[in-house]
């Protein structure tokens, strides 16, 4: 059974002059269990919108998205929140760690709204990403690479079946980017979570066996609108 299944997904935004601009029109997309796929797309191609639709943060205009067999589209927001909390881990380009919280607490937040907080598992995750000695550090006390590791640990804290990564190496130098990518892929593999990673970085994309192009997936109308 696919972890992620998308059928005829459409999303448009209203421009300031009132015109509807189609951004996403994906006829079909699937991601199987434990599968790791990179999504290619130029800047402004709608990659983040695509991930936000999958995560249920944005509501689709039409079409279907199913995550772990649960229908995300057409559901009330509270239901989408529950599905996201239970099945999806999200790694952001800007890490999005909460500044007032320690590394351990940031990871705990990743499980707080789903399965419930398990500090032992949060510690285990931080240990796996090499931050055993930094658990009580605040984000500002960590290096950029260490912050990304916390973000990865947090994304996996809820034991998700699907991890979405939005340009996770975009803010990192080459060495840190490679380490972060290896970490995300490795931890997802260990956790049996499928990974959908979007990036426009050729070197990142080259690491994946399967690379999809969002522009190719998008219909002509959406592509035209993006131009």
């Amino acid at each position: 059974m696919p972890v992620l299944e998308i059928l005829d997904l459409q999303k448009s935004f209203r421009s300031p002059d009132g015109e509807q601009i189609p951004v996403i029109h994906v006829a079909s997309f699937k991601l199987n269990e434990k599968e790791q796929v990179a999504m290619e797309g130029s800047s402004g191609s709608g990659k983040t919108t695509f991930l936000n639709l999958i995560a249920g943060i944005l509501q689709a205009d039409s079409g279907q998205i199913s995550v772990a067999g649960k229908r995300m589209t057409g559901q009330p927001e509270a239901v989408r929140d529950s599905i996201r909390a239970a099945h999806i881990g999200y790694v952001f380009q800007t890490f999005n760690l909460l500044q007032g919280y320690t590394a351990l607490e940031n990871v705990a937040l990743g499980m707080m709204f789903g399965r419930g907080v398990d500090y032992d598992y949060a510690r285990e995750l931080l240990q796996r990403v090499g931050l055993k000695d930094r658990m009580d550090y605040l984000p500002r006390q960590l290096s950029v690479g260490q912050q990304q590791r916390v973000a990865v640990a947090r994304a996996l804290a809820g034991k998700p079946t699907l991890v979405l990564a939005d340009e996770p190496t975009g803010n990192l130098d080459f060495r840190n980017a490679k380490e972060a990518l290896d970490l995300i892929r490795g931890v997802c593999k260990e956790s049996n979570a499928a990974l959908l990673l979007v990036s426009h970085d050729r070197e990142v994309l080259a690491q994946f066996e399967k690379v999809e192009n969002l522009s190719t997936l998008n219909s002509a109308a959406a592509q035209e609108a993006r131009r």
Partner: protein, 418 residues
């Protein structure tokens, strides 16, 4: 629940300064409300007779309130004197259980000197089962000697101790030029009673009659006491007589006899009703105090609202991240309401410190002025209602910023669109 606690505690820590200031304002509000109501209730109880000990006061024709304030609370001036014969008549009345004379006119450094009989100490109970008792090392005055028994507050403030000698001063207000020549010895210092009597110096009533410069007019003619010569009862007079009745009916009958049919005296009965009339007259003061306290509550609620609302812009990203991690809108809403309630709760705890300070300060002033002692630890429903009410008000104040957090758009605030 654990999640909410983490979110709330971290936010309070992150905004420690504004949290501290807001907690202070809530503490002030909660403490003031508690103090206003506690002071009001305790002063009402103290002044409306629940622990006065006497049922009525008999005195010169005039204001019942003045009579009670002068005789029971040792405030105000005496409305005039009544002849000794009236004291003897009421004392002999079979409906009267106890009649204690009260003669006033002198002071020692502002503390009034009252002439009375030893029945005040041997028979009178200021509270059920409690009599005025000299502390260890002291005793009651001997009626034939120039001796005094002083209240505990007098001893504390003047430094007078057993065996000390002092000269009374004429009048109720201290004027060093009005010093009497007579010297009195302190026979005993009374144990504290936490009542107005702690501020009184008691001497034998004969001492008042014989004080230099005092003129007796009990018979209508002036008489000055001479040393070694007994004073005829006809000339004696007293400021008032404190009465305890054998029954309620006695009070009603004497009220009829003295107040409605008589013309020369006034019976202040029942004392608590007389004092209630005072509180009725000054009730507006209490209402203003309560209003001020409620206004402070409103201001503190506003400060909770403002302190949280002002952080909303900087916290939009935080809410978006929490939402992206799976938090529902209602979770974010609840976190803000809980944060407001937590500030109010911390303030309410601090309110007990403010309450203690206000009660301590007000208590010291009230004790110095009236002898009435406020009990800090005495239970009052407001001590529960005010903190709980403050938490509820705080939570309500949190609704406005919570609605803003509730409406935070995740996608817009999470990260720039690619």
């Amino acid at each position: 629940m654990r999640g909410l606690f983490l979110i709330v505690s971290r936010s309070l820590k992150q905004h420690a300064l504004s949290t501290f200031v807001t907690v202070l304002s809530v503490a002030l509000a909660s403490g003031l409300v508690m103090a206003v109501f506690a002071v009001k209730t305790q002063t009402h109880d103290a002044f409306t007779g629940s622990s006065v000990g006497f049922d009525a006061v008999l005195g010169a024709r005039g204001s019942q309130l003045q009579l009670v304030l002068n005789t029971i609370f040792h405030l105000e001036t005496s409305p005039g004197n009544i002849p000794w014969s009236m004291y003897q008549a009421v004392k002999a009345d079979p409906r009267v259980e106890l009649a204690v004379p009260y003669a006033v006119g002198d002071n020692y450094h502002g503390f009034r000197i009252v002439g009375t009989t030893d029945e005040l100490f041997t028979k009178f109970e200021y509270q059920t089962g409690k009599k005025f008792q000299p502390r260890t090392g002291g005793r009651l005055f001997k009626t034939e000697l120039r001796e005094a028994v002083i209240g505990s507050f007098v001893a504390q403030k003047t430094g007078l101790q057993e065996g000390d000698i002092f000269n009374p001063y004429h009048g109720l207000n201290f004027d060093e030029k009005m010093k009497h020549a007579e010297e009195y010895v302190v026979a005993g210092v009374l144990e504290p009673t936490n009542s107005p009597s702690d501020r009184v110096i008691w001497i034998p009533i004969e001492g008042i009659f014989r004080m230099g410069g005092h003129v007796l007019r009990g018979s209508g003619k002036e008489y000055t006491a001479q040393a070694g010569i007994e004073i005829p009862d006809d000339f004696k007079e007293v400021s008032a007589v404190m009465l305890k009745f054998k029954s309620q009916t006695a009070g009603m009958q004497l009220n009829q006899d003295i107040n409605k049919q008589g013309t020369v005296a006034t019976l202040a009965w029942p004392i608590e009703m007389t004092m209630l009339s005072l509180f009725d007259k000054i009730g507006w003061v209490e209402q203003i105090l309560a209003l001020v306290a409620y206004l402070v509550v409103l201001v503190s609620a506003g400060s909770i609202l403002a302190s949280i609302y002002n952080t909303m812009n900087e916290r939009r990203r935080e809410f978006a991240i929490l939402r992206a991690l799976g938090a529902r809108r209602t979770t974010v809403f609840s976190a803000i309401v809980a944060e407001a309630a937590a500030i109010a709760m911390l303030g309410s705890i601090g309110g007990f410190v403010v309450y203690a300070i206000v009660m301590g300060t007000a208590g010291a002033v009230i004790r110095a002025q009236t002898g009435v002692v406020l009990e800090l630890m005495q239970f009052h429903p407001v001590l529960i209602a005010a903190p709980l009410g403050m938490i509820a008000v705080g939570a309500l104040a949190g609704i406005v910023p919570a609605l803003k957090a509730y409406s935070t758009d995740v996608a817009t605030n999470l990260a720039p669109a690619s």
